[in-house]
């Protein structure tokens, strides 16, 4: 067994089709797929599982490998992006080389997207399984490449998330490079007054964090510094930063993005002028400096949020408005505070309590609709109350706009340097919203805080610990295994033309003089496995391990079976 010999007709393939509860089974005819799979060439076993990824499912795979002497495993289920590592490790545990495993995506790219076309979707799933089996037949065992890890993390962004993450890593004994582009650490926390839900002083938290970071010898803080280039891969990133006009280079094993977000400047909205009409952030400063003199305050929610340009909810503004309204009432119980809202989102049990308290303390909540937005005029706000069905005119001394949280405009540059995705609103996109919430899809890169999505201090701190924990998994292991999906050269066919060397983005292939003339050689540690060289080689002398020409062509041919 153990994946030694076995190729082509010697292949003994087991196909496992997952119901994923009703996610697949509710739309595709899974028993039919199992029956169909069994009749495919080289398939000696097929079985359905309620959840292939459950203990029961995994045990069934293991038993089937033993009992049926399987030397290839195909799982038709969710997506390799989340579950390939799990099934590969099950194969490994049973002594089967993990690269003799093939994933067929029949959930994310089949049952979930053809929910009203079960029959056609089942046919599509059959095609996909047939293609997967064809590829599996030609899979070869591969040896993973082990790479040393530089035991240092770079944290980009020195706000509450970045500082917390740095401290957590440093306290575990890892070196940290903390990069902050401003002239001081703290980020948005520097501008806040009190923090909900406990009305703690923001200044207390920020000075404690700054103090701890400063004291910690493992954290190297680089202020007024920006990242200008990132190269390398998990365990071995080379980062170039700009500091005082000079380039500095650092080698780090992992990178955490904690670049935060900023508050949208509501220019041109509701008469925003920074004096009589201010943002919540500007109100925080007034409250902190004791400079608030207002008997009537009108707060407007969802300013620049949940509209066409920014369809998302900024999440923190409801709680923030409640907190500030209560502080105003506390300082001056005679004052009147109105909150004009579209929907109040005080998620969780504790936050809903604050909403109730605010109402009890006389904060007036008026619901407006996006179609009839409040109008700020000289000294008054006109608002059509959706619940009363009437227009109200509110005199004000101060209007406070709960402006959206927006991604930094230069996020795109950092995303390109890291080769990681951002969403349509410019926030960084995690590998998986539930399964890998602080990982990027690329190994060794993590994220936390508002860089990912607007979140409050508490969440930023939780995410920072999570990112530190994920990062420490790699650092503490000291070595990482890289996928052996790399190029290889057929030296007989290579003419030494050098096109591969010219086009390789990673300088991972070069032509060398040998006894048999000029021949391209792959530098295995540098090759990232894109396959660009293979698909472009004039002599067709280069192919990829695990994505070979034969495997891919077999997959194409299996789709039609016959040809024209």
């Amino acid at each position: 067994m153990s994946g030694e010999l076995v190729e082509g007709s010697d292949a003994r393939i087991g196909v496992f089709v997952c119901h994923c509860g009703t996610n697949i089974g509710g739309f595709l005819d899974v028993p039919d797929l199992v029956e169909y799979s069994r009749r495919l060439p080289n398939v000696v076993y097929s079985k359905d599982n309620l959840y292939t990824c459950s203990d029961t499912g995994l045990t069934e795979i293991k038993n089937a490998i033993k009992e049926n002497e399987l030397n290839r495993v195909v799982v038709a289920a969710c997506t390799p992006r989340t579950h390939e590592p799990l099934f590969r490790s099950v194969c490994r545990e049973e002594g089967l080389n993990p690269y003799l495993f093939e994933f067929v995506n029949i959930r994310d790219q089949c049952s979930w997207v053809h929910m009203r076309e079960g029959e056609a979707a089942t046919e599509k799933a059959k095609d996909l399984i047939r293609m997967g089996v064809a590829r599996a037949t030609l899979l070869k065992p591969q040896e993973e490449i082990e790479i040393d890890v530089t035991q240092c993390t770079m944290v980009i962004g020195g706000g509450v998330a970045g500082m917390t993450c740095s401290l957590s890593l440093a306290n575990q004994g890892f070196d940290v490079k903390l990069i902050e582009r401003e002239s001081q650490l703290g980020g948005l926390l520097n501008s806040l007054h009190k923090l909900y839900p406990n009305n703690e002083d923001a200044s207390r938290l920020v000075s404690k964090l700054k103090g701890d970071v400063k004291k910690n010898k493992r954290i190297d803080v680089l202020i007024s510094t920006t990242v200008s280039n990132i190269e390398g891969f998990v365990g071995n990133y080379d980062v170039t930063v700009k500091h005082g006009g000079e380039d500095e280079h650092y080698k780090v094993g992992t990178i955490v993005v904690a670049t935060g977000a900023e508050v949208y400047r509501p220019e041109g909205l509701y008469g925003y002028d920074g004096e009589n009409v201010v943002t919540q952030l500007e109100l925080e400063q007034l409250l902190r400096d004791g400079g608030l003199e207002a008997n009537s305050v009108v707060m407007i929610q969802c300013v620049g949020s949940r509209d066409r340009d920014r369809p998302y909810c900024s999440k923190i503004c409801c709680m923030n408005a409640l907190k500030n309204a209560m502080i105003i009432k506390e300082v001056n119980p005679e004052s009147q505070v109105y909150i004009l809202y579209r929907d109040i989102q005080t998620h969780g049990t504790r936050y809903e309590e604050h909403y109730r308290e605010a109402r009890e303390n006389g904060v007036v909540f008026l619901k407006y609709s996006p179609e009839r937005q409040p109008v700020v005029e000289d000294g008054t706000v006109r608002v059509f109350d959706e619940l009363l069905g009437e227009e109200l005119i509110l005199p004000f001394d101060l209007v406070v706009l709960s402006a959206a949280m927006v991604a930094h405009p230069d996020v795109k540059d950092l995303a390109q340097m890291l080769k990681v995705p951002v969403d349509e609103s410019g926030f960084f996109l995690e590998a998986h919203v539930k399964l890998r919430p602080v990982d990027f899809a690329t190994d060794g890169l993590f994220l936390c805080g508002c860089a990912r999505w607007p979140c409050d201090i508490g969440e930023s701190i939780s995410q920072a610990f999570a990112a530190a924990s994920r990062s420490s998994v790699i650092l503490s292991a000291g070595r990482v295994v890289a996928e052996p999906i790399i190029s290889f050269v057929d030296e007989e066919e290579c003419s030494g033309c050098g096109l591969c060397e010219m086009n390789c983005p990673f300088k991972a292939i070069r032509v060398e003089e040998t006894e048999r003339g000029r021949i391209a050689k792959v530098i295995e540690a540098s090759c990232k496995g894109c396959g660009m060289c293979g698909a472009g080689c004039p002599q067709r002398a280069i192919s990829m391990k695990h994505f070979s020409d034969e495997q891919l062509v077999a997959q194409i041919n299996a789709l039609t079976g016959g040809g024209l």
Partner: protein, 260 residues
């Protein structure tokens, strides 16, 4: 155009692991519905897609092929998608030479965040192929002829000449030759198109010689070129050692392939 009643196209999709495959998964997570006509193959980078794979798909009778990568500038492998675009544009041009609609091959970009875009591109492309009809319905020749033409174009894409040319496109246009002279895009496109035609014709002629010796006139008849065009090709091909005169029949020389 004989768009058949109830025709359901079969489409092959190549998706890169980092952006477009993730975008396709996101379409699923978001439950964006799209027609069930596309069969996806995951590759690490869209630049893994050899133009001959695309021709293989058409030779297998598939009605359309789509290749999605990361948006320009976002490629996980820095410049992979630029290569993809150049190669696929070249492949579209050769499809036109074959007599197929170049629209049967779609190259586009989908990020990991663009589930909706993925679903929409797939829906539109499926509709496009449905309009075009089954593979070859836009052609004025028989299926056997289509197979021969696809084989010749696949051979042309497997040969070193076009692969070398497209591989150097970026360098020639952006960086220039050894003298620092940059080639204008239009001029490159012209050279590319000429080379595609020449390589394609060459391989058609070679294929026609598969069954034995032929006169220029016979070859012209089989590959649908004028005798003048065939002769022009033969002169070069003879120089390259690909063909040779086997014997003279009457007053006409008969050509055969040389070597393997």
């Amino acid at each position: 155009m004989n768009s058949e009643e109830g025709f359901e196209p079969v489409i092959l999709g190549f998706l890169c692991n980092w952006c477009s495959y993730a975008g396709a998964d996101l379409a699923g997570v978001s439950r964006f519905q799209y027609p069930p006509n596309v069969r996806v193959m995951r590759v690490m980078c869209s630049a893994r897609v050899d133009p001959t794979f695309v021709l293989e798909a058409f030779t297998q009778g598939l009605d359309g092929v789509l290749v999605f990568g990361c948006h320009p500038g976002d490629c996980h492998y820095m410049t992979g998608n630029y290569q993809t675009e150049r190669r696929m544009v070249m492949t579209q041009k050769i499809l036109r030479e074959v007599g197929l609609s170049p629209e049967r091959l779609l190259v586009d970009w989908v990020s990991a965040a663009e589930g909706e875009r993925f679903a929409s591109l797939v829906s539109k492309f499926t509709e496009k192929i449905r309009e075009l009809g089954p593979l070859g319905s836009e052609a004025v020749f028989e299926k056997e002829e289509l197979v021969r033409r696809l084989k010749a174009s696949s051979d042309a894409l497997a040969d070193d000449r076009l692969r070398w040319l497209v591989g150097r496109e970026k360098e020639l246009i952006e960086e220039g030759n050894v003298f620092g002279e940059r080639l204008p895009q239009e001029e490159f496109d012209h050279v590319m198109l000429e080379s595609i035609r020449r390589e394609y014709e060459k391989n058609r002629i070679l294929l026609s010689l598969g069954d034995g010796a032929l006169t220029v006139k016979e070859m012209a008849g089989r590959v649908g070129l004028s005798t003048r065009e065939v002769l022009k090709n033969l002169v070069v091909m003879e120089g390259e050692g690909l063909v040779t005169v086997s014997h003279i029949e009457g007053s006409s020389p008969k050509y055969i392939k040389t070597g393997g």
